[in-house]
């Protein structure tokens, strides 16, 4: 049980919990206490330190803005003005939109969750209400009535994940086959090298605009969710380069020993590619895919923001435009959610990568 859970944790890249499990099993107390201190306690401490600094910074910025407002009120209408301004700040009528404190962000996060619960409840109620009508409409061959209210924060997360995965699979199905073909032929490799080098560093924003130009024209008569199509294609095109370059490299640098084996055994082209070249380049291909997922998640926010396709990027932008008292706190909450999801996606790819890697040192 103990060894198994340690094995699994190490496999998914959460190996820092290992000492805790060993400690719980009463194994080499001193050594594992030190390891626990190093791997868990110190990171927690650093997070704590970060929160303290953040809190101090936030209250300093808050006070700067508050003092500025009071000063102005004093200049305008004396002490009475100051009292009034203090009251307005107290009630939130005069908002101070500076860096929110950790507490405010936590509160905003709770608000977002509560909001999600109420929206889910509303949705369910709506569904119940229109169930009879929808059944009737279906009989008449009409489209069912769907809930068109505001999506909740959690809904936005899932929309974003959908976009990122669509983009990732686009990158996968584009970059891996092209990479294999380029890797196999040095002629093709040098033919396309310039194009690849030029397109690789292009900014996500420009990719978005490029995809927008093309997709807009091609979907003139399409009534579906064009913004989703644009954003996932743009995400895929931004993120695919790491996979393309790594696949090409992996395929073109297969160990000479393996190639000699293929030659001595007289393997055909198909067998050579599928039995030798591909498996031996899997580690590099999956390293590329792991980078692709991270890049996809990173550019997604910017692209959603531009394309107005629903998701976390749009959420952040709308909150920024909104400018309510807790908007900034919600943006920071979204930032942490984005960061944590990015981390989990990376761990996911890390695990997949370990499954297909045949050497111990290739996965880092």
């Amino acid at each position: 049980m103990k060894d198994r859970s340690i094995h699994i944790l190490n496999f998914v890249g959460l190996g820092f919990f290992e000492p805790a499990i060993r400690l719980a099993a009463g194994e080499e107390t001193k050594k594992n206490l030190i390891a626990l201190l190093k791997k868990v306690f110190l990171p927690v401490l650093s997070v704590g330190l970060f929160l303290v600094l953040w809190h101090a910074g936030a209250s300093y910025l808050y006070n700067v803005e508050k003092d500025f407002k009071i000063e102005r009120a004093k200049e305008a209408s004396g002490d009475a003005g100051v009292a009034l301004e203090l009251k307005r700040i107290e009630t939130g009528e005069s908002s101070i939109n500076s860096l929110p404190s950790p507490g405010a962000v936590l509160a905003a996060f709770k608000t977002l969750l509560a909001d999600h619960r109420s929206i889910t409840a509303k949705k369910a109620a709506f569904k119940e209400k229109v169930a009879a009508t929808n059944a009737k409409r279906e009989e008449q061959g009409l489209e069912p009535i769907t809930y068109t209210g505001r999506p909740s924060f959690v809904d936005q997360i899932f929309t974003s994940l959908k976009t990122v995965f669509a983009g990732f699979f686009l990158a996968l199905f584009l970059a891996v086959p092209v990479g294999i073909i380029l890797g196999l032929s040095s002629t093709l490799r040098s033919s396309f090298n310039w194009l690849i080098q030029i397109f690789k560093p292009v900014s996500p924003v420009v990719w978005f605009l490029l995809v927008y130009m093309i997709v807009k024209t091609m979907t003139l008569s399409y009534n579906g969710d064009v913004s989703f199509i644009i954003s996932f294609i743009a995400v895929g095109l931004c993120a695919m380069w790491a996979t393309l370059v790594n696949t090409t490299l992996g395929v073109s640098t297969v160990d000479k020993d393996y190639i000699n084996v293929a030659k001595v055994l007289n393997l055909g082209v198909g067998q050579k590619v599928f039995k030798i070249v591909l498996p031996s380049s899997f580690p590099l291909i999956f390293t590329g895919l792991r980078i692709t997922v991270s890049v996809a998640w990173m550019v997604l926010i910017a692209i959603e923001l531009l394309s107005q396709s629903p998701g976390l990027g749009t959420f952040v932008w709308e909150e920024f435009q909104n400018g309510a008292n807790d908007s900034n706190a919600k943006i920071i909450a979204a930032m942490f959610v984005i960061g944590i999801i990015g981390f989990l996606l990376d761990r996911l790819m890390f695990t997949v990568q370990k499954f297909v890697t045949f050497t111990e040192e290739a996965a880092a």
Partner: protein, 273 residues
Amino acid sequence: METLEQKGIRRSDNGLFEDKYMLDISQLTKIYPTPKGDYVVLDDLDLKVKHEEFISIIGHSGCGKSTLLTMIAGLNPISRGTIIANNETVRGPGPDRGVIFQSPSLLPWMTAYDNVMLGVKQVFAHGTKKDRDDIVKYYLSKVGLEDAMYKKAKELSQGMQQRVGIARAFALKPKVLLLDEPFGMLDSLTRGELQDVLIEVWNQEKITAIMITHDVDESIFLADRVIMMTSGPRAKVGDILEIDFERPRLRKDVLEHPDYYKYREHLIDFLEH
């Protein structure tokens, strides 16, 4: 007649007996062009190997032993001269010439079984699935791996990996077996074990074998003839030593044989001058 056949003498098309070698290398030259002019590794090298003969090639590092072997394997283009293996001119690699590389060169993501099967499938494409399965299992158990057949190659030790390499080469039933310092990367204990494994399998198959080695004792123990190559560049055959021990050989008998030290001295004498 049978004895004649065994010695590599075959009836030719016109009914007469004539010498036919399994491997006939004549005037073989290998030149690597460099910016400073051509670098001649091998110069007009001649070597004939009889049927069912085991020869070892010994010489200093960099004298072109491996170059010679890779040219016979067809992995390295020939600059001048010809190599005729089993009555056919060598033009490229093929399964009639099995190779055991210095590094085991197994595909690490496959099991030992799959590594051997990869070649067997290629060579015995017309056999039944059961036949192929039998061949793979037979050779893997011959080299002492019946319990580790389904282990991934990366999980095997170097010595065990090279055992798979031996099984893979023999399972293809090649006409010529080429061994490129196959035990060079192993510690001396494992090396001894693997020499025993190799000679045991070879005693049953009697495949014409050419082995490159650095190891004087290894060459005496395994070979019928030891080919000594001169130091490069322009390396050629310097001397040939016939090893007259009877087969099958046992390590103990070979070491205790009165001629053993005579052979050993001869080889070391050549290598030191």
